[in-house]
């Protein structure tokens, strides 16, 4: 019988969905707050940077096709330094996941479940996510495959429908007296696409399938195009100052769409429902990465203990998600995590890639 393997199209959808998590609802706010009306250019540049730095990771994953990122750390940097390097990665992924769940719960509280305790929303999400991860990467990729087309269609429809209220004047003049902020903002744009790094966690499951660069770039390109288009249309709909005042501009955008048909009076509720699946996909992928980090850090080999490491994420993620009481603080911490990510993306990953390349070359010569 055929052995399970990830196909190129699955890697593409994983890369795309991983980058479209809870950020989908607030990316415009984060970017416009920094780069103003030219936020979309920062985001576009950030996307290119994301592909560039992701390229290091793609190359790294191809150097060790049977290992995931934390295992590569140990392989390249040695048993002790490698595990030491896993710690910031583990912290980032775990906290990013936990806080994403919290922001997700807060959003639902605002738009769908105003009387439900936040704990209940969080715990339900965590249980379903951990169940999916528990079933393995092939199950997870199967779920992502189904979610993916709905995610693309939903966001594309939202963008297209929002054009009816767009004012082109709000994004003009382009780049006028705004170069420094746009350039600096591109680094903020870069961290919006953290999901690209998942290529290093999943490539080792594509046994025998050659995942070409084009599949990776396609997967990375989809969220870049959608995010940039969403940011442009949001700025054009609400003007830059309006976008800054909105916590979740995407939902507000869907709320503002007017339909002549009375059946779709409350579009934002449907968008929120569809967004649940997108957020679920992204959070599941991050949880999977977190489990892999645990497995590598504690050198877990027995499959039973791998399952245990997965189950342990139920209390871990719940604690991280509910530890901070203030909703605004949660978003603040979530954004601050980007510094850890920036250090990992710009310094550690390229450094490990270069060392790995040298090591491989030396091994080749020997």
């Amino acid at each position: 019988m055929k052995a399970d393997t990830l196909r190129p199209s699955q890697v593409m959808s994983i890369v795309a969905i991983a980058a479209m998590g809870v950020d989908l609802l607030m990316v415009q706010n984060t970017m416009v707050s920094y780069a103003g009306r030219d936020a979309w250019i920062s985001l576009l540049l950030g996307g290119f940077l994301g592909i560039f730095f992701g390229g290091f990771m793609y190359y790294l994953a191809n150097l060790y096709p049977d290992k995931d990122l934390p295992q590569i750390f140990v392989e390249v940097a040695g048993k002790y330094i490698g595990r030491l390097l896993i710690i910031p990665l583990l912290i980032y992924v775990l906290f990013h996941t936990g806080l994403s769940i919290r922001i997700f719960a807060q959003t639902l509280l605002m738009f769908l479940l105003d009387r439900t305790p936040i704990f209940a929303i969080v715990i339900l999400m965590v249980i379903v996510v951990v169940y999916t991860v528990y079933k393995g990467i092939y199950t997870l990729s199967g779920v992502i495959d189904i979610i993916f087309p709905f995610a693309i269609v939903t966001v594309t429809m939202l963008i297209l429908l929002s054009f009816q209220q767009a004012e082109f004047d709000f994004i003009k003049p382009v780049l006028y007296n705004n170069y420094p902020k746009v350039l600096r903002g591109s680094f903020l744009g870069l961290v919006q696409f953290t999901g690209f790094g998942h290529i290093t966690y999943v490539l080792c499951y594509a046994h025998g399938s050659k995942i070409s660069w084009k599949w990776y770039v396609t997967g990375a390109g989809i969220p870049i195009v959608l995010y940039v288009a969403l940011t442009i249309v949001t700025i054009m709909a609400f003007n830059p100052m309006g976008v800054i005042s909105l916590t979740f501009p995407t939902l507000t955008l869907s709320k503002s769409i007017e339909f002549p048909v009375t059946f779709l009076e409350r579009l934002e509720s449907f968008v929120a429902m569809l967004w649940i699946s997108i957020a679920f996909g992204s959070i599941s992928l991050f949880t999977f990465s977190s489990v892999r980090n645990f497995v590598a850090l504690f050198n877990i080999r027995n499959e039973k203990f791998v399952k245990l490491a997965t189950v342990i994420h139920i209390p871990l993620l719940t604690i991280v998600a509910l530890a901070v009481k203030s909703g605004l603080k949660v978003i603040e911490y979530y954004l601050k995590l980007n510094y850890v990510l920036a250090a990992l993306t710009i310094v550690i990953f390229p450094a490990i890639t270069i060392i790995a390349a040298f090591k491989k070359r030396r091994e080749g010569k020997a």
Partner: protein
């Protein structure tokens, strides 16, 4: 003799009622004494009244022989006309003119007109063959017997399919007789690569199982796995293909069918052409088909006898029916209890006004109606057909109308439950329909607890569960995930025959190209 019998049954006699076990016979052979052999066999079969034997002299010579068979399984006319008559009277010239003495080989080669004959030595295979309807011929002086096929194949004649009716397709359906069923498929596939492999299941029933596949099209690894699982089944007896399916399924606890059953030869034909494997079970009109995926379960035989556009639209409608049958009560509960704002104002007001006199919350109302519906469905199956119609009228129309008028349930709830029931009948797989009926309840609980968020999470959980399922190594959501564009031609839609050049990718084939009309026209 006494020593031999005590050796044979010794272990079983200790503190237990005597039960002959075929395992103990595997090393024992027939003796040269024909009468003793017959007595021994009868003894092994507890001297049941339907075990018949007939002693005679071959060709009137002083060569004692004996036949033994089971009256209810063997065709007595075959025994009389093709065994006893030739041996006793018609073969005298052969016996007299031949050189040398009358040997077993000579008897076998020259005195029988037809039927399959095999030599047997060991008691286990001898007893098993007799219990399958064969007749044993023992000749004095030979420790080898001749097993002659005298199996009776009478049974229900081939008729229409009751479970899977088709509007335009062939009207033949499998029956309970294995030989007839195999004939139906042989008639359709005149390819020497059609492989039929026989094995037996059931410690006591020894039921014949035939595994059907087409060499070069089917995946040999899957076939080996099917045979491995079937031969490793340990059970007293097996009656139905569905029962066997559950025993060899990848996940017996799954409410989703991980194998397909059909009584349509044309359906089995199509699945064999896709590279899947069929399993016939003697005594069952259903054929087991593996592996199976969810999109395959959504396909109906009629899809292939209609124009591809019409078939595609119908198939999409079926997918919509699947979602409605699972989700409509839960969506109603979530919208009325948690998120009335999701509905347009006029519709929300209309629903609110119909529910104004109902004393129960939406969940109780829905559960009540669902339970009544399930009871009605069960009653409909159990009752005789004549009374069944009355039950559906009384249950569906009278009780529904009365419940609305009494203010116990709202009219919209009756509509929802009715639509749900109709949608579940639109599914081509009965087992899949049953799974959707069960799924409605957890979804309703999710809806009443978390509203539309609960329904969404329930769907994601279901998706993860379905994605984790496998049928003989093939993912249950194959074709939908991972994306196999060539397989999409026969998944949610069905494209024209000329475009379906390749066989489904979910199974590995040596010969992956179909001989299509399009290819032939080049």
């Amino acid at each position: 003799m006494a020593d031999f019998l005590s050796r044979l049954f010794g272990k079983k006699n200790k503190g237990k009622e005597h039960v002959p076990d075929l395992e103990h016979l595997s090393n024992l052979t027939l003796s040269k004494d024909a009468i003793y052999n017959i007595k021994l066999i009868k003894l092994l079969m507890n001297n049941s009244f339907d075990i018949k034997s007939r002693d005679f002299q071959v060709c009137g010579l002083a060569l004692p022989a004996c036949v033994v068979y089971i009256e209810n399984l063997a065709e007595e006319s075959i025994i009389r006309d093709h065994i006893l008559k030739p041996l006793m009277f018609e073969s005298l010239p052969v016996a007299n003119t031949g050189k040398g003495s009358l040997s077993l080989q000579k008897i076998k080669d020259t005195m029988f007109a037809g039927g399959s004959i095999k030599e047997v030595r060991f008691l286990d295979e001898t007893v098993q063959s007799i219990m399958s309807g064969d007749t044993l011929l023992c000749i004095q002086g030979y420790d080898t017997g001749l097993m002659i096929n005298t199996r009776e194949h009478e049974g229900r004649s081939i008729g229409e399919s009751n479970i899977e009716p088709s509007v335009k397709g062939p009207q033949e359906a499998f029956v309970e007789t294995l030989k007839k069923n195999l004939g139906l498929i042989r008639k359709r596939i005149r390819d020497p690569n059609l492989c039929l492999e026989l094995c037996k299941v059931g410690e006591r029933s020894k039921t014949d199982i035939v595994i059907v596949s087409i060499k070069g099209i089917s995946d040999e690894d899957i076939k080996k796995e099917v045979i491995k699982r079937i031969t490793s089944v340990e059970i007293d007896g097996i009656i139905e293909a569905e029962q066997l399916g559950q025993l060899i399924s990848d996940n017996p606890n799954s409410i989703f069918p991980l194998f397909q059953t059909t009584e349509r030869p044309d359906k089995l034909f199509s699945t064999l052409m896709e590279g899947r494997i069929g399993v016939f079970l003697d005594g069952s009109p259903m054929v087991l088909i593996v592996p199976v995926t969810l999109p395959i379960l959504m396909q109906s035989a009629d899809d292939y006898f209609e124009n591809w556009i019409v078939a595609s639209v119908i198939r999409i409608t079926r997918y919509i029916a699947l979602f409605i049958s699972i989700l409509s009560p839960s969506l109603y509960i979530s919208v009325t209890s948690f998120n009335p704002g999701m509905l347009p104002t006029h519709l929300a007001l209309s629903i609110a006004s119909t529910r104004s006199g109902v004393p129960f919350p939406a969940i109780i109302e829905a559960m009540l109606m669902e339970v009544i519906l399930e009871i009605l469905q069960e009653a409909g199956i159990r009752l005789p057909r004549v009374v069944g119609q009355t039950v559906s009228i009384v249950g569906g129309l009278v009780i529904g109308q009365a419940a609305v008028q009494a203010g116990i349930v709202s009219p919209i709830m009756v509509i929802i439950i009715a639509v749900t029931a109709i949608c579940s009948y639109a599914l081509p797989s009965y087992s899949l329909g049953l799974a959707t009926r069960i799924l409605r309840f957890p979804f309703m609980i999710a809806a009443v607890t978390f509203g539309s968020y609960g329904v969404s999470m329930g769907l994601l959980f279901l998706l993860a569960y379905l994605s984790s399922l496998k049928s003989f190594g093939v993912r249950y959501l194959s074709s939908l995930s991972p994306y196999r564009v060539s397989d999409w031609k026969d998944t949610v839609i069905r494209t024209g025959w000329r475009t379906m050049i390749k066989r489904p990718e979910l199974i590995q084939h040596d010969d992956s190209v179909r001989e299509t009309a399009g290819k032939g026209r080049k």
